[in-house]
Each structure stands twice: as structure tokens, then as C-alpha cells.
């Protein structure tokens, strides 16, 4: 008894994993060609083919239905290309037209079949919406073969496909058959989608070709790795989705796989190290905090400079007035600088530590040097300098600083006549 359940589950697990992995592989290329929705059109365009094959053959013979589906899917792809070539329409409109025309005619045919009163037409719908739970060992064998064919072809033509997608014009001038490579990719995509339809349904097949590749792209900038990761993420969502639906019978396999895939995608969009939302937010926050700190250091420096005493204690009120900070903002910035050992908190204000003075000097030097540069090299009037320098003082690195000093002949005063400090620790 248990053995039987395990065997069915294993079948479904292996099948879903393979199908999703291989869909992710071909989907990655579609995504890079900015044709992610081509899979959507292909999947919908399979419907009229299934209906036609059923009407011609008269029963639900699997090879006939698959062949019909593949035939109309590829016809739709050809129509899409033809519309692009023959009309001024762009990708999205051309896809929309091919998808709706083919799907629409499929619905017409389906209605016609139902009207004829065939006894067995019920199965046709499951062809479109999938029923992964009924996966047979023969299906799994077929999927293994399909995965092998796809992997071998993509491996063989990896370099040429990469070139043809990245720079088709250059590839053409080099004599590569760009159109044939395009046809190859489209055929693989159509083949995988049609093969998966009966098992997984339209929506899942579209999701399986788009979502894992999009997630994988977040994690790597190398095509080979993106491909492997896409296959991995696809496989994982296929396996987890199939398992989840096996343990909770109310959950259908297809939707479960889509949900798992979407969660992996969400995770990737949020958490990936370079392109992720979180990483970007952290980087921006880091820059913002540093700018606030630099500004407070420079403000303190200016007050001390005026008083001729860098060890002076500067009152909060003086600092608040300088750039209209709220007391809360000032306290937060000051706290960060205190914890970095650049400031010391005194009963009636703040005082720069020795390290704080050096850090403030760094900012002031850059600010005044940039003002000098703008005024000397670009002849900007002196009232136009400050705002630009306010941004550049945070950006200038040591190399640029040296260049500036050299170019300007190591100036000692800025255009406003204020002294440009020397870094005391040099």
C-alpha cells in the first residue's frame, strides 16, 4: 500500500522537477531575448492544435494531440515573426495578436466539439489545464529524454546562442545563421511547453519558463551560471510544489509549483547581493548616513575654525542653526559619530576628538579644493560653488584628491579666501 503511494509520488516528483528545470533552461534564453511572453503565446496557441487533432483523429491519441499542439504553437510563433517583419508593430502587440487569434480560434473549435456531442471530449480541457497527479512512468521517461535533448542542444550551441542573442547584428556579419538559431530556440521553447501542457497546464508552463530565470538573473552576471541556477530554482520549485500538493490533497500541483516559484522569485528580488532591493536600500542608506556625518563634522570644523580653537565645545543651538536640522536628527548623527570616536559629548555641546578633527579636515579639504577647481578651471562665479562642492566632497577619493591638488598647484586658500587645511596625519 505504502509502496504504491510512494511510487506515484516519486513519479510526480521526478516529473515536475524535470519539467520545471528544463522549462527554466529554455525560458532563460527567451527572457534574455526580451521575449518572456512568447511562451505565453505558444502555450495558448496549442489549444486549436489539440482540438483540430482530436477532430481529425477522432480520439484522444496522445501523439496526435501533441503533434497538433506543436504544429499550431509553431505556426503562432511564425505569425508573430511575420507580423514583426511585415508591420510597424512592436513585440508586445505582435504577441498579443498571435496569442488572442490562436487561442480564440481554439475556443471556437472546443465549443464546436462540445456541440457535436462526442462522449470523451472532457479530457481535452485537462490537456490545457494539466493534471500532474496523473503522471505516468512513461511520462517521466519522456521528460528525461526531452531534458537530455534540450540540455545537449543548448550545451552544443551555447557560445553561438549567446552571441546571437547579445549582438545579432554582429553575429550576422560574422556569418552566423542568426535566424536558424532563433528558430532552434523557439522550437525548443514550443516543444517544452507543449510537452508540459498536459502535465502542468498553461499557466504553470508559462510561469515555469519565466519565473525561475528571472529569479536566477538576480544572483549572477554570468550566463552559464544564470542557466544552471534557473534550472536549479525551477527544479526545486517543481519538487517542492509537487510534494506540497501530495501531502495536502486540496492543493493542486500546478498552482503549488507556481506559488513556490514565486516565493523563490520574491526572495531573489529582495535579497540578492547586488541587484536585490534590500542590498540597494542598504547601500543608499549607508551613503545617506555618511553624508549626514560628513556635514556635521564640517559644520563643527567651521565653528571651531572661526573661534580659532579646534578643541572648542560647540553648543547644540549653533549646530541646529547651520542647516536646519531637528534636534532629533542632530542627536542621531552625533550619536553615530560619538560611537565611532570622532566626537565627544560635553555637558553643553559637542567637541571634536583628535580623530574627529582629522576626519573633518578630510571633508573640508575636499570641499574647498573642489570649489577652487570649479572657480579656477571652469570660471564659475563664487556664489555658484558651494552647492556643487557640497555633493563632491563625499565622492572625491584619494587618487582624485591628489590629481586635483597637482592640477591646481597645491593651493592654500579657496576662492572665498579661506584656508585649505593640510592633512595633519600626512
Amino acid at each position: 500500500m505504502y509502496g504504491f503511494i510512494d511510487f506515484t509520488l516519486l513519479n510526480v516528483l521526478a516529473g515536475s522537477t524535470l519539467l520545471c528545470a528544463v522549462a527554466a533552461l529554455v525560458g532563460t534564453f527567451a527572457l534574455l531575448r526580451r521575449e518572456a511572453l512568447l511562451g505565453d503565446a505558444l502555450a495558448h496557441a496549442a489549444l486549436p492544435g489539440i482540438c483540430l487533432a482530436y477532430m481529425i483523429v477522432g480520439d484522444k491519441s496522445l501523439p496526435a494531440l501533441l503533434a497538433g499542439a506543436l504544429a499550431t504553437a509553431l505556426t503562432a510563433a511564425a505569425c508573430h515573426r511575420f507580423i514583426l517583419w511585415a508591420s510597424p508593430l512592436k513585440e508586445d502587440a505582435a504577441l498579443g495578436i498571435s496569442l488572442s487569434v490562436f487561442y480564440g480560434s481554439g475556443i471556437v473549435l472546443l465549443t464546436k466539439i462540445q456541440g457535436l456531442g462526442f462522449g470523451t471530449q472532457a479530457g481535452l480541457k485537462s490537456f490545457l489545464f494539466g493534471s500532474a497527479a496523473t503522471m505516468l512512468p512513461s511520462d517521466v521517461k519522456f521528460l528525461v529524454a526531452l531534458a537530455l535533448v534540450v540540455a545537449v542542444l543548448l550545451g552544443l550551441f551555447f557560445k553561438e546562442l549567446k552571441l546571437a542573442i547579445f549582438d545579432p547584428e554582429f553575429a550576422t556579419t560574422q556569418g552566423y545563421p542568426v535566424r536558424m538559431l532563433d528558430v532552434l530556440l523557439t522550437m525548443l521553447l514550443a516543444g517544452v511547453i507543449v510537452a508540459g501542457l498536459r502535465i502542468a497546464g498553461v499557466v504553470l508552463m508559462v510561469a515555469a519558463t519565466i519565473v525561475p530565470p528571472a529569479a536566477a538573473r538576480q544572483w549572477s552576471d554570468r550566463l552559464g551560471i544564470v542557466l544552471l541556477l534557473a534550472a536549479l530554482l525551477g527544479g526545486v520549485s517543481g519538487a517542492l510544489g509537487a510534494y506540497a500538493s501530495a501531502v495536502s490533497p486540496w492543493l493542486k500541483t500546478g498552482p503549488a509549483i507556481v506559488v513556490v516559484g514565486s516565493m523563490l522569485f520574491l526572495l531573489s528580488v529582495l535579497c540578492s547581493p547586488r541587484r536585490g532591493v534590500l542590498a540597494r536600500w542598504l547601500r543608499e542608506r549607508h551613503t545617506r548616513l555618511r553624508i549626514e556625518e560628513d556635514h556635521l563634522l564640517r559644520d563643527l570644523y567651521l565653528v571651531c575654525e572661526e573661534r580659532g580653537d579646534f578643541a572648542a565645545v560647540v553648543g547644540f543651538v549653533d549646530l541646529l542653526g547651520m542647516r536646519g536640522l531637528t534636534p532629533g536628527q542632530l542627536r542621531r548623527v552625533a550619536h553615530r559619530l560619538i560611537s565611532r570616536g570622532l566626537l565627544r559629548s560635553e555637558p553643553d555641546g559637542l567637541r571634536l576628538t583628535d580623530r574627529g578633527i582629522r576626519a573633518a579636515q578630510r571633508v573640508v579639504i575636499r570641499h574647498r579644493l573642489w570649489e577652487t577647481f570649479l572657480s579656477k578651471q571652469l570660471n564659475l562665479p563664487s556664489d555658484h560653488l558651494h552647492r556643487d562642492a557640497e555633493e563632491m566632497e563625499h565622492v572625491i577619493d584619494d587618487a582624485l584628491l591628489r590629481d586635483l591638488q597637482e592640477q591646481l598647484g597645491y593651493p592654500t586658500t579657496d576662492p572665498h579666501g579661506r584656508r585649505i587645511p593640510k592633512e595633519t596625519d600626512q
Binding site: 534574455l32 526580451r34 552544443l156 550551441f157 557560445k159 553561438e160 549567446k162 552571441l163 542573442i165 547579445f166 549582438d167 547584428e169 554582429f170 550576422t172 556579419t173 560574422q174 556569418g175 552566423y176 538573473r217 549572477s220 552576471d221 554570468r222 550566463l223 551560471i225 544564470v226
Partner: protein, 266 residues
């Protein structure tokens, strides 16, 4: 007859009676031009004059309505290996998951051949090409992380990797910093001195006189072509750009500068 023969043998590109149209709109009309080998050649003309289309017609990316083109005395299809085409920078998706070295390596795919992986020597060769453009340290950088100038350098490095006799560059100086422009011109001169031919679709009339040997002025039709000293004249510019004052002002300034420079040399 004998004159024609010599012209044909020293020409890198021979364009005869070329007409190209996109739909009903002609972009090039009856263009006849010989581009000599071993020179740096500028193709100039206003926007929409058909400059890029001429390059694309040469490398077979657009099909002519009438006329024919020969590259080193043969159809382009027989000369692919001799020609490096550098498309406009915006023509590709720079967010593509690949790095600078990988793009340069694409220039070697012809050598590597189908079904094979690039070897260590190929990587080395690609790295040398990046080195020539002064950006070997960016080899592993994802291409969207490069500045416009650096991306253009990568494209030129890819062309160098092909080791061709003829370079066709479509607006290589558009949106590029001054340092990159200098580097690219330096390399183009080196290539010319090695006997290669360089054809550049160019926008900046100010640099034509100083930096090019030969100029092709185009505005749907061929206006003039010849050595810069002969063909790059105020009259020809007027005919190319018509009443476009800004362009003319530039050109007048350039010509003036050139004359002043000549005077001072005497």
C-alpha cells in the same frame, strides 16, 4: 579602363550605384563611392543621411534595392573574415549577463569554431586586446557596470580580437569621454600605420580635419568623397548640411582653425 583597374585593386570598399530604402522611403540614393585602403575614413552627414545604413549595406545587414558593393574586390560574403563591424553602442542590451572579457572573446568565435569552448590562448588574446585599450583591469566586470566610454572600448577590443583588414565603426564616439576618444583615435592610427583600413561614421565635424585622412560626405546621395584636404571644404559642407546653421558654424570654425594652423606652420 586601366585607371579603373588600379582604382579597384587599391580600394577597400567599392560601392556602385547603391540605392537602399526602408519601405517606400529611400535612405540612400545612387551612391557611388570608392573607399581607399590603408586610411582612416570619416563618413559624415546630417542625421538621417544614411551613414549607418551605408555601413550596414556594406556588411550585408540591409539589402540594397539596386547596386552592388565589393570589399577588397569581392562580395562581402567572401570577405567576412577580413572585416570587423562595430555596431552602435545602443544596439545591444548591456544588461546581458556577461563580462567584458567574454564580449571581446566573441570576436574570436570565428577562429574557435562551432561546438568548441574558448581555450586559455583565446582568453589571453582577448585580454591583450583589452590591455591595448587600457581596460584589462575591467575584464571581469559585468558589462552594465561599465561607463559608456568603457563599453565602447570593449566593442573596439572585440574588433581588434578579430584581427581584420577593415574596421567599420558606427558612431564610436557618441557619448564617450575625451580620454576614450583619444585612446580610440590613437589605436585607429596604429591600425592605419599597419596598413589596415578604418571607416568611421562620425558626427563631430570639428575633429574631421585633424584626425581623418579621407572623408565621405553623405546626405541621401553622395555629396563628395576624397582626401580631407580636397573634399572637406566649406562648399561641400554647405551642400551636405544645407541650411543647418549650427553644423555649419562648427565646420567654419574647424576650417578656420586649420587655415590658421597652416599659416603658422609656414
Amino acid at each position: 579602363m586601366s585607371q579603373r583597374r588600379t582604382a579597384a585593386t587599391t580600394a577597400a570598399i567599392e560601392v556602385h550605384d547603391l540605392t537602399v530604402s526602408y519601405g517606400a522611403k529611400p535612405v540612400l540614393w545612387d551612391v557611388d563611392v570608392l573607399i581607399p585602403a590603408g586610411q582612416i575614413v570619416a563618413i559624415v552627414g546630417p542625421n538621417g543621411a544614411g551613414k549607418s545604413t551605408l555601413l550596414k549595406a556594406i556588411v550585408g545587414l540591409v539589402r540594397p534595392l539596386t547596386g552592388w558593393i565589393k570589399v577588397f574586390d569581392a562580395p562581402f560574403e567572401q570577405r567576412r573574415a577580413w572585416v570587423a563591424y562595430v555596431p552602435q553602442r545602443e544596439s545591444v542590451d548591456w544588461d546581458f549577463p556577461t563580462d567584458a572579457l567574454d564580449v571581446v572573446m566573441m570576436g574570436l568565435y570565428g577562429q574557435i569554431g562551432w561546438f568548441r569552448r574558448p581555450s586559455r590562448e583565446h582568453r589571453q588574446r582577448a585580454l591583450q586586446c583589452l590591455e591595448q585599450l587600457g581596460i584589462a583591469h575591467l575584464a571581469q566586470r559585468q558589462i552594465s557596470q561599465l561607463s559608456g566610454g568603457q563599453q565602447q572600448r570593449v566593442f573596439l577590443a572585440r574588433a581588434l580580437a578579430q584581427n581584420p583588414k577593415l574596421y567599420l565603426l558606427d558612431e564610436p564616439f557618441a557619448g564617450v569621454d575625451a580620454a576614450t576618444e583619444d585612446t580610440i583615435f590613437r589605436i585607429l592610427r596604429q591600425l592605419r600605420d599597419q596598413g589596415r583600413t578604418v571607416v568611421v561614421v562620425h558626427h563631430d565635424l570639428q575633429t574631421v580635419a585633424d584626425r581623418f585622412d579621407y572623408v565621405v560626405l553623405l546626405n541621401l546621395r553622395l555629396i563628395a568623397a576624397g582626401p580631407v584636404e580636397e573634399a572637406f571644404t566649406a562648399e561641400n559642407l554647405q551642400r551636405t548640411y544645407g541650411g543647418r546653421l549650427t553644423a555649419l558654424a562648427y565646420a567654419a570654425e574647424t576650417l578656420l582653425r586649420r587655415d590658421v594652423a597652416r599659416e603658422s606652420q609656414r
